[in-house]
Symmetry: C2
Subunit: 242 residues, 2 copies
DNA sequence: CCAATAGTGTCTTTGAGACACTATGAG
DNA sequence: CTCATAGTGTCTCAAAGACACTATTGG
């Protein structure tokens, strides 16, 4: 019995000889603006679902991308101009029915960035819009992107309860009230002021960098804070907000 | 300007026209046996890495699998005969270098099952072995499977600290001492007996179903417990073991 | 003064850590 | 009795919830 060597096998191997699912990477980019949680949607330029709204995403470029996170980052930078944000893999969804072209798999990432108008980074206004999460249900999105957004939203909510994820949506410096507000929007519930401040300050994640004006120009000036180095990765041993 | 319709586009679409990464599903199956955490390894029957040890896994069967979890479950059942276990997606790894055939993506699942000898479910003993995690470092595994196992191991450790995941590796019924031992092996640290029992019993996840003999035939008989319906999904608000 | 926002004092409750203690069986 | 394993009593400590209180600004 002659055994094929691995070298021989690789020489004659051709990926196109096998039936393989479509593989793509999608990214749910969140921000806060005007007291609302918003997600970035683009208009699809090609079939299928041409002209429908969808999450930014697409196929891996085998020649440019070193890994799938690079694919996600490439899409993120193209639509927002932001690099070095919070970018995190959420999950991978793959089945026979999510894409009319056939069996399809997508790895979903989520990103969290401070608000910036999309107009600065895309050619046409309609190409990318910040959609408030509250208006999402009314839209009909391409593929299963409505589901993907829900999955990312869930992760956002859960992780906010035991991390300092919301730091990533604020411009620096920020006040503790602004930070609490960000937590409340991401968690979808209001938090007790004293408990919140005790938790954040006791963890020694922030350092004060001065005083600023209060929200809306009225009231006592608030302390301004910035995260200390590495503090964005802090995890609490207890979830917050009961 | 004539616009192609979506129907026309789909009719002439052919997935093989595009360069796409390889896509596979791998699964790290864990169990406890003889006081050790073990992971199931199989011997690869084909190139690349023919005859190397690897995680069970492989390509999606587009005609059989409804979704990627079905692919993972199919592999799990084939190697262990176990269905309806804990089966959970860990992460997806994809890059240009992990497979000698080219750009490759794999979605990693992990499963947790009570111990059963592999011989009952595979044709040859060498086809599947339970490898103690302590002996893993010395082995040279196919692809990046050493890394994949580490990722699954990390998830196991983290999730054990805020869930009741270890319930899935025990035969029913079990004693609280056995359960604590399972927790300790999965977390890789010893736990304080009183704290452990208080935590588990206060959560009302178990019901007692009698008394059994103690470990090793000596000492006071222990209460025997089974999980109540749905309790496997309980999450604590506080991580255990500091 | 008032309104508005920022920030504190302090009591209660929950649940983990430590660790010594008691309980029940086999020999 | 002793040894081994199962299970409890109870004190301390960390941190969240509740909520009333004080502080600092603009008008």
């Amino acid at each position: 019995m002659t055994e094929e060597t691995e070298r021989q096998y690789l020489n004659q191997y051709n990926i196109k000889d096998y039936e393989s699912p479509l593989y793509s990477v999608d990214i749910a980019i969140f921000t806060l603006h005007n007291g609302q949680l918003k997600v970035l949607l683009v208009e699809r330029a090609a079939h299928p679902f041409k002209h429908s709204r969808a999450l930014p995403g697409g196929f891996v470029d085998l020649h440019i991308d070193a890994d799938i996170e690079a694919t996600a980052r490439r899409k993120l930078v193209a639509k927002t101009g932001v690099d070095a944000p919070l970018l995190e893999q959420v999950t991978t969804v793959g089945n026979a029915s999510r894409d009319p072209r056939g069996w399809s798999v997508t790895t979903l990432y989520m990103a969290l960035i401070p608000y910036a108008p999309t107009a600065d980074f895309v050619d046409t206004v309609s190409e990318a819009i910040w959609c408030p999460m509250e208006e999402l249900k009314e839209l009909s999105l391409a593929f299963d992107h409505q589901l993907l957004i829900e999955l990312a939203r869930e992760r956002l909510k859960n992780k906010t309860a035991y991390s300092v994820l919301p730091l990533h949506v604020l411009e620096r410096p920020f006040t503790l009230s602004q930070l609490q507000h960000a937590f409340e929007l991401l968690m979808g519930k209001s938090l007790e002021k004293k408990s919140f401040r005790r938790r954040i300050l006791n963890a020694e994640l922030l350092h004060q960098v001065g005083e600023g004006v209060p929200e809306g120009g009225k009231g006592r000036p608030a302390g301004l804070y910035e995260p200390s180095a590495g503090s964005e990765r802090h995890l609490f041993v207890r979830v917050f907000g009961d």
